[in-house]
């Protein structure tokens, strides 16, 4: 059976650090950075390579910050 892998691209300058995406991810891929963006928000970052491209994070993000890719490998 083909394995599914995914990747997300986070537009960190648009992220407001609300953390809603972190609770929506089934793979615990997302956490908040220690650094802040130019608006002063701690932004979302990936902390592992376990993304499966389910898009849960993107559909709950109020600011449309996340782009999602999914592929069979």
């Amino acid at each position: 059976m083909a394995k599914i892998t995914g990747d997300i691209v986070i537009d960190i300058e648009r992220c407001k650090g609300c953390e809603v995406c972190t609770t929506a991810c089934p793979q615990e891929v997302i956490a908040m950075s220690k650094e802040v963006n130019s608006k002063g928000y701690n932004y979302a970052i990936k902390v592992n390579a376990n993304c499966i491209g389910c898009a849960n994070c993107a559909v709950v993000c109020p600011d449309g910050v996340i782009t999602v890719y999914r592929a069979k490998v």
Partner: protein, 262 residues
Amino acid sequence: MVETFDKPEIRTPENLVYSKTKVLTDNVLSYCPGCGHGTTHRLVAEVIEEMGIQNNTIGVAPVGCSVLAYNFFDIDMQQAAHGRAPALATAIKRLLPERFVFTYQGDGDLAAIGTAETIHACNRGENIVIIFVNNGIYGMTGGQMAPTTLPGMPTSTSPYGRDTQIMGNPLKITELVAQLPGTYMVTRQAVHTPAAVRKAKKAIRQAFENQILNKGVSFVEVVSNCNSGWKLPPVKANEWMVNHMFPFYPLGDIKINGEMVK
């Protein structure tokens, strides 16, 4: 070097499964972090994109935090006086019946100052969509009590909680408009989890499709958060919403195809 966990090899157009809809502009939303207004905007915009009606839709923005909605939707928009969005939408739809027309309103706009316009548009059966974002508070002006504020809920004008003996009862305007003959679809949704978002989007899609039938108002309430007004961080505000708002404002369909859901 910091590990990024990027997989550039899979970032190809055919593998793209989600990106921000082009029906939203690139303007940064004026909403607080985690505010459900942003998510609700996105769902409406995605429905407009998927139905291919970007050039054929007119939205009406309210007064409230979403007063600037016309900066965020890349469609024709008007902005109504406080609470008057359903009246303005009535005029637009009657003059341009081929267009898809929707209002986007908060609870202070729709269920306080605009109660009369809401009820009469719903009773007349105007062929419009109403998107009603209910966060139980006047977000924009500093978190004052709204007609929709829950019993016991603290706000800046009910700092010890809403005492219904003095301040009256919350208004379930969604159940109220469902009773009127002019509403064709009435539903209550939320946008705090992936499953809720996907369901809310289906409801908004149905509401827009109903306009082709010309059978009256399709009314979609989105029970939402107001992190600033509730004085909670976004994830905690969503938990509070599940524990307090949902028991009083239960999610689900109330009226479908002109029939009350049992």
